[in-house]
Symmetry: C2
Subunit: 128 residues, 2 copies
């Protein structure tokens, strides 16, 4: 599909309605990847309104399951995510966003939540 | 950190205990990436036992929130995931697995759940 500037409200609502909000707080899981490198930057959650706002503005919005409200990523930090691609999975309970990340995705200031000072990495080599 | 063949049970349990199982069914979200291409193959969930089994065997195990049991990915399909890297995020409620996928990640037979016949993609271009 060719890129469109933004989804229309009708198209966004049709997509939002097609998803299965079976996760915590009535959400789908949103995996956020850097559009250039494929690095996973963060995992968030979206309710139907966050999906519509994301698709109609091109800026990632999430539903905070702790604060129980929608938030625009970057609304306080300025670290917006410009969404280039939005994909749903086979059973509609997860989405992947490919984004241009302004600044840092993680609240710690790290580029990715998975490379923050508080994150942990182990490499395995079963074939060794 | 250098790759180790597999985590010891003690190390695996230490890692499993450090996570925050706040998601559906008492789980963390597990994002699965192809270790070579970075493609997101699927999103699953893990409880503490699935984390321990994954780290001590090098094969991805998940917790099925619908069937309420642990499963070895590939146990019926043969489509195992050999885990090369396991990362936690900044607040310990999500992990990224980088895997060698045997066969298909998706139950539809698609390589990725996000490129299955049932999935949907929209590309945006806010800057256009």
């Amino acid at each position: 599909m060719d890129a469109v500037p933004l989804a229309t409200p009708e198209e966004a609502w049709r997509i939002a309605k097609s998803l299965n909000y079976r996760h915590i707080g009535g959400t789908v899981v949103a995996v956020v990847q850097d559009v250039e490198t494929g690095e996973v930057l963060m995992v968030g959650h979206m309710d139907p309104v966050a999906v519509v706002l994301t698709l109609t503005t091109g800026l990632a919005h999430y539903y905070s399951t702790s604060r129980k409200r929608i938030w625009l990523k970057g609304e306080t930090s300025g670290h917006y995510q410009i969404v280039k691609e939005f994909r749903t999975d086979c059973d509609g309970d997860a989405v992947v966003l490919k984004v241009v990340q302004i600044g840092a995705a993680c609240h710690t200031g790290a580029r990715s939540c998975f490379s923050s000072p508080a994150s942990f990495k182990i490499r395995l080599n079963r074939d060794a």
